[in-house]
């Protein structure tokens, strides 16, 4: 079985700082990580390979430094890593991103064997759209299984796959066919500690680096800014509320006094609430 998993290198967003005047992201010194959601997909890919045999290829599109993310994925046990990097990809939106990635996946298929499953994370923490996975599926004409909580079974002979996927009001069980694209739900597994062997291998491994032409992309107008139907017109900081919270004075008050005062404050601002709460609460 050949599994391709798409990962993205993202800034460790908890530590992002925004320049107070220019409203741009201050990237300098911001550590990068593998998009946390992608680790669930990676682990699932590795488990499937361990159970059924085969190979796991990790793919990322990004700047040259995204190689770090790939190397990290190799230390977890991925077999091969492909970095898709080209200035022409700069400014890609989800449509252009899914175009480039799908072309690279097709090329991976030609070069290393057709994938049976393509995995992506549920979403990224920087782009945060959850659309790149479905975009790839559509472009490669793969059956699309999103928000997968569990892979129930795979029958490689019949090329059948059964999964449980999260829907708004419950869990849906779907049976589909390979090849398919799966976006993995978070919290479904835990990324393994890579073995020492894998770490050594990762350090030695050569990462396959492709530019647009290497990936077989001829039409550059479908890439990057030019290939993106959406444009960012304006970036701005969320408005702060003019006034701060009104503080209840706590000096020399018992918790009960404080509670009295807070509740009075709540009901004076939302008078209708008192009746509603009395009605709802099982007090």
């Amino acid at each position: 079985m050949h599994i391709v998993i798409c990962i993205k290198q993202v800034p460790d967003s908890a530590q992002i700082r925004v320049h107070p005047v220019t409203n741009t992201i201050m990237r300098q010194g911001v550590p990068t990580i593998i998009n946390p959601y992608d680790l669930f997909a990676l682990e699932e890919a590795l488990r499937l390979r361990d159970a059924h045999g085969g190979e796991v290829t990790v793919l990322t599109m990004g700047p040259p430094m995204a190689e770090d993310a790939l190397r990290k994925a190799l230390t977890y046990g991925a077999d091969r890593a492909v970095l898709l990097t080209d200035r022409h990809f700069a400014g890609s939106d989800t449509l252009a991103t899914s175009f480039a990635l799908s072309q690279a996946i097709a090329k991976i298929g030609e070069t290393f064997g057709s994938p049976d499953i393509v995995f992506t994370g549920k979403q990224t923490i920087d782009g945060d759209t959850a659309q790149v996975g479905p975009g790839i599926a559509k472009r490669l004409d793969l059956l699309q299984l999103t928000y997968v909580a569990k892979i129930v079974s795979i029958d490689l002979n019949k090329r059948e796959i059964t999964v449980e996927r999260r829907s708004e009001g419950g869990t849906q069980t779907l049976m589909s066919k390979l090849p398919c694209l799966i976006t993995m739900l978070e919290g479904t597994n835990e990324i393994r500690r890579g073995s020492l062997d894998d770490a050594l291998r990762a350090a030695r491994s050569r990462i396959v680096k492709w530019n647009a032409a290497d990936a077989g992309i001829e039409d550059l107008t479908k890439c990057g800014l030019r290939g993106s139907p959406t444009v960012v017109k304006r970036v701005f900081a969320p408005a702060t509320r003019a006034e701060k919270a009104e503080q209840i004075d706590t000096t020399e008050k018992t918790p009960r006094d404080l509670a009295d005062e807070l509740i009075a404050g709540i009901f004076s601002r939302q008078p209708a609430l008192e009746d509603e709460l009395a009605f709802d609460g099982d007090a």
């Binding site: 993205k8 290198q9 967003s13 992002i16 992201i25 995204a66 200035r87 700069a90 890609s92 989800t94 449509l95 991103t97 480039a100 920087d126 945060d128 759209t129 790149v132 479905p134 975009g135 559509k138 472009r139 699309q144 059964t162 999260r166 829907s167 708004e168 009001g169 419950g170 849906q172 069980t173 779907l174 049976m175 066919k177 919290g187 800014l225 139907p229 959406t230 444009v231 960012v232 017109k233 304006r234 970036v235 701005f236 969320p238 702060t240 919270a245 009104e246 018992t254 918790p255 009960r256 509670a259 509740i263 404050g265 709540i266 601002r269 939302q270 509603e276 709460l277 709802d280 609460g281």
Partner: protein, 369 residues
């Protein structure tokens, strides 16, 4: 480079060169459409929130607002059509087929793209639910058009283009995105981000029924089963009128009962900040914020939550925010309306007790006399 996908504005030069003229064949794309999400007979309320928002856009543009209903022939589907009118639609597009019973990507994508290419809307809105996000990505890619995901604000500018604003970088910044030279302009919006419009009793209006030739045999993916969550927290938290939430400031898993007790006393739902989910103190569907639920209660009480931007974006729609925190400089006080600088672990039991007392019928009778 690519990593900057939607994180930062493209360089000024790049931006200027993206100012493209809308191709002639897109100029007859008109009207605003809202996908009415119907799953297993249930309409997701986000559809109504979108109709409210779509109404405003349509009025600004001077065009019609349509609800799009995809489902099997039957009562639930008809009801969805009726509700679309009750929440503001001028007309409805309806595709009825037995294979639209359970949600599956293939037939829904087919039905939706068929409708779009036949009737040509300029704006198409969907809920950013698991279903809506699964569908929107496929539809946008099939139509090769732009899609702005998880918007928090929608507007049309002077030239009639959709201005879709969404948080970026985990909510640290907002950006406004346009789809310049493609139609329809697509956007998804998370449940509870937009206000619920007033429902008005109104007869069913114009319904355009559209046939999409599809046979079950050609649909590869089969729905084998569905296990409903029942009346679990999932829907309730997002749509609760009163929410009490705890954060890391509560210090230990067992202190979460203080939050639950208060919630029970006042008939509220309870939730939490993300670290509590990561620690396994609370299930993921209780998380409030950017990567959790967006809530819009009349009253939100946050105890031991610092108010990080990712939390804040999930609660900004609350009418009244009360924060309990030991640190008077905690960022939550920048957007809460009422604050108490105190130890939540000591304070919550008293708050629960006083609330209980005040809300009990007995004490209320006394007050009335």
């Amino acid at each position: 480079m690519l990593n900057m996908k939607r994180d930062t504005p493209p360089p000024a030069a790049g931006r200027a060169s993206t100012k493209r003229e809308l191709p002639e064949h897109f100029k007859d794309y008109r009207h605003v459409w809202v996908f009415i999400e119907l799953e297993r007979g249930q309409i997701h309320p986000v559809s109504f929130e979108l109709l409210g928002e779509g109404r405003k856009l349509a009025d600004k543009l001077g065009v019609e607002l349509a609800g799009v209903v995809l489902g099997p022939a039957g009562e639930a589907t008809l009801y969805a059509v009726a509700e679309a009118f009750a929440y503001g639609a001028d007309l409805a597009y309806l595709v009825e087929a037995p294979l639209l019973e359970d949600y599956r990507n293939e037939p829904f994508t087919k039905a939706m793209t068929d409708l779009v290419t036949t009737y040509k809307p300029e704006i198409l809105l969907l809920g950013a639910t698991t279903l809506g996000r699964d569908l929107a990505g496929s539809v946008a890619t099939t139509l090769l058009t732009g899609l702005t995901a998880d918007c928090t604000e929608l507007d049309v500018d002077a030239e009639g283009s959709l201005a879709a604003t969404r948080p970026t970088f985990g909510g640290s910044l907002l950006c406004t995105i346009y789809t310049l030279n493609c139609r329809p302009q697509m956007a998804t919006v998370r449940p509870r981000v937009m206000a619920m419009p007033q429902r008005v009793n109104k007869p069913i209006g114009r319904v355009i029924q559209h046939d999409v030739p599809m046979v079950e045999e050609e649909i590869v993916t089969k729905a084998l089963g569905f296990l409903s969550d029942g009346q679990s927290s999932n829907a309730n938290l997002a749509y609760a009128d009163v929410v009490v939430a705890g954060g890391l400031g509560l210090g230990a898993a067992e202190n979460l009962k203080l939050v639950k007790n208060l919630a029970r006393a006042i008939g509220a739902e309870y939730g939490c900040s993300r670290p509590l989910v990561q620690k396994g103190w609370m299930p993921a569907d209780r998380q409030i914020g950017q990567t959790g639920k967006t809530i819009r209660p009349k009253l939100y009480i946050a105890a031991g939550i610092s108010g990080a931007i990712q939390h804040r974006v999930g609660v900004g729609g609350a009418d009244l925010i009360v924060a309990i925190n030991t640190d008077r400089n905690a960022p939550i006080f920048d957007f809460a309306h009422l604050g108490v600088v105190t130890d939540a672990i000591r304070f919550l039991p008293s708050l629960t007790e006083v609330f209980t007392h005040r809300l009990s019928p007995h004490s209320r009778d006394k007050l009335a006399n």
